[in-house]
Symmetry: C2
């Protein structure tokens, strides 16, 4: 499904949406309540600098602009066209655009894939027309896009009426027009400045990931946000995420459809494949994308990120005028993965010098209400935290009252400018007096982020710290170490249609350097004894047949066999059981293999996700997977850091360190196998549907595959 | 630590804080920036109806009231006194209160337990004075209390300046003065009306639970909220919670100190014992207390609860004008434990009749922007959800614009009044026009809760549904079934000082009707063989000594012994190992016991919590506990429903249903053992420190204790 070629994103063709030299509006009216009318009105109101061509045979002039009967009557070139004619007239309008050599079309019209099969067929024609003629289309069924830096107001959402906020750092892409509009309005009210906003609608041509990638590459946009129900193309999304890491621009995505009901609704809401939410979650973590749950998480991050500062670690210092708020923030920090270390040495000494006896020099610092009467206390304590090498970011929560506001502001600005550590100020009821409002404004103007809610602030700092850790993390995928030249026999095994037996699957794994049990197929009891002696007792005997996947069910497994006589009995029993279980199965013989003793069972496998292609899965064996579904995923190909993280993020991770007297397992061997499986799945993503190593046995010194299954597409 | 007698709460003595006929203010000044000055000012401003007596030798009059040189000069009786003199003068002031027969004192003064050992000693004197003279004291180190229904403004926090909001349904108790004040101000701004507010400070006499209990028993208060760092007395808190369930008034508590840093800070912030947060969590669930994390969770619950409606189940219907917002709400609902069922039959048919083809008749219902032009669509769809027996509550999210606002309001009110199901309206930018503001106000006046954030609404409904389920749940504790008359030998075993051997611990368990392995102590090898034969092979042999707790470490265990000869060898080896391991240990002999075969291992135990007393713990055995800490707690005594819930809430719960071909275990037997353990721990809470049944083996038909440990206090 996922094809590498399809991850191509044509930046220059997308640019026509954001920087068109001319815009025509087909079917435009004077009525500003109608979509194109509203858009034209906004283009005029915000002084769009390019040429505007209203198209409507019933008018000769609209808002002082000449109005043309058809697109062909427009004298000059047209870069972009905005269309809101009824669905039945859309194809004709698009044909005109093709003939006029238009580059980009914003298609507001509804009545396509979202209404069912008939609409889907019409939409497929739109897609076909777009691809054939290289005409880029946004929509259909979208509220359009705006580029605030040059007043391209190609939207009918009420966002075109809002006063722009500076600095314009956020580029936003949404799969829901109405909800995206709400996000826009809420974020603007919270003081967030947008560079651009795109509602992608049904994605007949352009899609979510295209615009994510485009916006990342624009100078103005410093951070990209998105509302996502389901990606059309995981490879494109990955490419955008990789570009974001390269450019050091964070991506925040609100991905819905996490639960059963949500996913059901999301898939009814758009035509996209919802995919498995667990895989999305893994992908976001893998690619450094911040997954957000609420609007405030978006707005507070953008405000904190504006400072341009990143913490060098996860340790936070908290200064609060209320002990209770301090405790609440500390709780939230630790639950979000930040660390609130105790202060020691000089920091502690300095804090104790300035704090009243009933204050707390622990972290969080409780300034107590004494800080109202002695405002310089805050600056002094804050300086101590800034000087502490062990503190990577600071959260300050304090109320401003007229008599202390100027001193607080001066001290905060002084300290802020003396350091590169992120510091966030949380304060309430700012606008209550002119003096306090002015003081807080001066702090914002000095570049220090100011928020109104202490939990939002902690959330933003934790997202910032996590993002910073992603930037520090090595992501390089060492391809050469995991390149294998396969023998012809193996190539054929992979290519051949149908199922594979355990022994065949293991041959493929072995060809990728993955250690498997010593084993051989025996076709007679005598041969089985010979093989068993050569391998050395005890051995395991298993039926070998590509058709029999559930060997235990078929009575096809005998373990821990210790003598020649036992081998003979087992051989006969296995063949008899298997024939009884599935008379038409093609039986290759009985697999005689070494019996692995002790060790820790784990599972490594791959699944083929409809959005992201091959994904690697890891979990502990047995009850952990069955009772807890305690597994982790990563999208192939994996970096070494990905493999390490997927091992450490399972809940039962400590089992690998050795419990109940067992020695710890060799994690290096496990990482190596995960990376080889990732490579194998990537190399043969068009052939292999599922791979399942279950169990893989981990030992103190090495690891070995005890059983394996490969299912072809 | 926890004494039953101490759970007594004297309601009438607390009433003097909330309904005093007269108030004196010691050390009051005209300066309204000083605590008592501020309090006096507020009492006058809000027309406190009782008598006011300012006390200050330097004045003869303050704000037109006669000012007295000392408390003794006040002509009449004084019910309550407010004190903010320096810490060093507090005892003298309190002595005056005692002599004047004052009933209640609000003590603002800081400088007690919160500053260290010296302050703690002073506070102990305050406590002693209070108890000896039956003088009730609030504080010290508190911001006081207010009773808004009769203008008792005994506080210096800025909350005394805020305009009261109606209806006054929320009573609030806080262990943090500053943070409590912030909560109050934020909640008032969100439209929440307080009946009373109490800041308990250092709790030298009265404590958090006292006021929780008091407020629950006042007519006006319909819901009680609290900010808690650590309870002094778990039994009192339990009594308050039981009263709340009886009165059907919900309690919401923001309990901080969840994480390491938070708990550290909380214990520095107050003098209280933090206790284990896991136990608090279990206690809250057990007692139907809603644990909240954010302020918005409090405010939105109070607003939704005001309607007086409770859902009869967990199924929610969602109607939204934005598909995206609908998906987000559905996700949040399911993550919070609500169910978003698909619509069937008539409901679906009616929805499809009214919705446009591109809308969604699934749950969440996507009304699409067509609902702006056709506002009656909302009412029609809402009626279909109200008529659906399978839907227990409804969340409606829609924007109001002037042209549709009157119709939306009329329809919403009509439908709301036709049903008793909880329905919440979420709408944005209400105040943008007069028409929409008026429409929304009419909805609120009709009793329908209106919120501004769709996630807050979902959160409030999920808390309401959980609370309603708690009210439906049987909480009766069947004491008689679990009453055991113990023989003298057992009574003595429990009473005797020092440690107990496994065999002794099992005797106690058996006396409580808990099934244990058949076993007997043998003092010679011959005797061991005799016992083994009687029990039947295979058997287990274990060292029996009260001093040797770690029998495996001591080489004191041999399992699965199958012959007389093996018994003899094992007996000698065990005695020899044990003597080598601990030469001074008193060895009772070797315990010969039946060897349990198969089954599922679990752990049942008790711990002694400093706040709540004996608590019962349950977990799966082995790696589940070691690798995942997958255990659940309940505070003893437990109801049957508690036992059921603590079994089902562990993550690995499905193991008990039988995995990998194992039969499911007998859950009834497990519940019975948990309840007996609860009873045992409650009966002997002053003697038993810890009890550990590990493992308890569960079978298809029954259960048996394989090993047990009891540690005395």
């Amino acid at each position: 499904m996922v094809d590498k070629a399809s991850s191509d994103i044509n930046l220059s063709s997308l640019d026509s949406f954001f920087n068109p030299a001319s815009i025509a509006l087909i079917g435009v009216s004077r009525d500003i309540r109608r979509p194109t009318g509203r858009s034209l009105n906004a283009l005029l109101k915000w002084n769009y600098p390019g040429k505007l061509y209203p198209i409507n045979p019933n008018h000769t002039e609209i808002h002082g602009l000449p109005c043309y009967p058809s697109l062909f009557d427009v004298p000059g070139e047209v870069d972009m066209v905005i269309i809101s004619v009824p669905a039945s007239s859309v194809l004709a309008a698009l044909e005109q655009c093709v003939q006029k050599k238009v580059k980009a079309v914003v298609l507001f019209t509804s009545g396509f894939a979202e209404i069912g099969a008939e609409g889907k067929a019409l939409q497929d024609q739109v897609t076909h027309l777009s691809r054939k003629n290289n005409l880029r289309i946004l929509g259909p069924n979208c509220v359009g896009l705006v580029n605030l830096s040059n007043s391209v107001m190609a939207s009918f959402a009420n966002i075109v009426d809002l006063k722009p906020v500076y600095p314009m750092t956020l580029g936003f892409v949404t799969q829901s027009g109405a909800f995206g509009t709400l996000i826009f309005a809420t974020a603007v009210a919270a003081g967030v400045g947008f560079s651009s906003f795109v509602s992608v609608g049904n994605e007949a041509d352009t899609e979510f990931a295209d615009f994510l990638y485009y916006l990342l590459n624009t100078e103005k946009t410093k951070v990209v946000g998105g509302y996502l129900e389901g990606a059309k193309n995981g490879a494109k999304l990955r490419r955008a995420a990789e570009q974001a890491l390269k450019l050091k621009k964070p991506i925040l995505i609100m991905k819905v459809g996490r639960t059963g009901a949500g996913a059901r609704a999301a898939s009814s809401h758009t035509g996209s494949l919802a995919g498995d939410d667990k895989i999305y979650d893994a992908f976001f973590r893998q690619m450094g994308i911040i997954r957000i749950e609420t609007l405030s998480e978006l707005t507070s991050f953008v405000i904190v990120h504006r400072s341009g500062r990143l913490p060098r670690g996860n340790n936070i210092g908290i200064l609060s005028i209320s002990g209770g708020a301090g405790v609440l923030m500390a709780d939230k920090c630790e639950s979000l993965g930040l660390h609130v270390p105790e202060f020691t040495g000089e920091t502690r000494r300095v804090l104790e010098q300035y704090l009243p006896p009933f204050g707390s020099a622990k972290n969080p610092v409780d300034l107590t209400s004494a800080a109202v009467a002695q405002p310089e206390m805050l600056g002094n304590c804050l300086r101590a935290l800034v000087a502490d090498e062990n503190i990577h970011m600071i959260n300050v929560a304090i109320g401003f009252v007229p008599h202390n506001a100027p001193i607080l502001a001066k001290d905060l600005i002084d300290v802020y400018q003396s350091t590169t550590k992120p510091i966030v100020l949380v304060t309430y009821n700012v606008s209550e007096s002119e003096v306090t409002a002015k003081a807080v404004k001066s702090i914002e103007e000095a570049g220090m982020p100011v928020l109104q809610d202490h939990l939002h602030s902690v959330q933003a700092l934790s997202n910032l710290a996590w993002y910073a850790s992603r930037l520090r993390r090595p992501v390089e995928i060492k391809a050469d170490r995991y390149t294998f030249k396969l023998e012809k026999e193996i190539e054929e095994l992979i290519k051949k249609g149908g199922a594979l037996s355990e022994h065949e699957a293991k041959k493929i794994l072995a060809a990728y350097g993955i250690p498997v049990t010593r084993e051989k197929i025996a076709t007679t009891a005598d041969q089985a004894v010979k093989v068993a002696r050569k391998i050395g007792y005890p051995v395991a005997l298993k039926i070998s047949s590509a058709q029999i996947r559930h060997k235990t069910e078929a009575g096809g497994i005998r373990l821990n066999i210790k003598t020649d006589a036992q081998v003979r009995v087992a051989f006969r029993q296995i063949i008899a059981s298997a024939k009884k279980y599935m008379s038409q199965a093609e039986i290759q013989g009985v697999l005689v293999q070494e019996m692995l003793q002790g060790g820790t069972e784990v599972i490594v496998g791959t699944v083929d996700d409809p959005v992201f292609g091959p994904c690697v899965m890891f979990g502990l064996g047995g009850v952990f997977v069955e009772a807890l579904k305690d597994v982790s995923f990563r999208v192939a190909p994996l970096s070494r850091a990905d493999a390490e993280e997927m091992i450490s993020e399972i809940q039962g991770h400590s089992v690998l360190r050795g419990l109940r007297g067992k020695p710890p397992v060799n994690t290096e061997a496990l990482i190596d196998i995960i990376l080889k499986v990732s490579r194998l799945a990537s190399d043969h993503k068009n052939t292999i549907k599922e791979l399942d190593i279950n169990p893989l046995i981990l030992f103190k010194k090495d690891a070995k595959v005890a059983d394996a299954l490969i299912i072809k597409k």
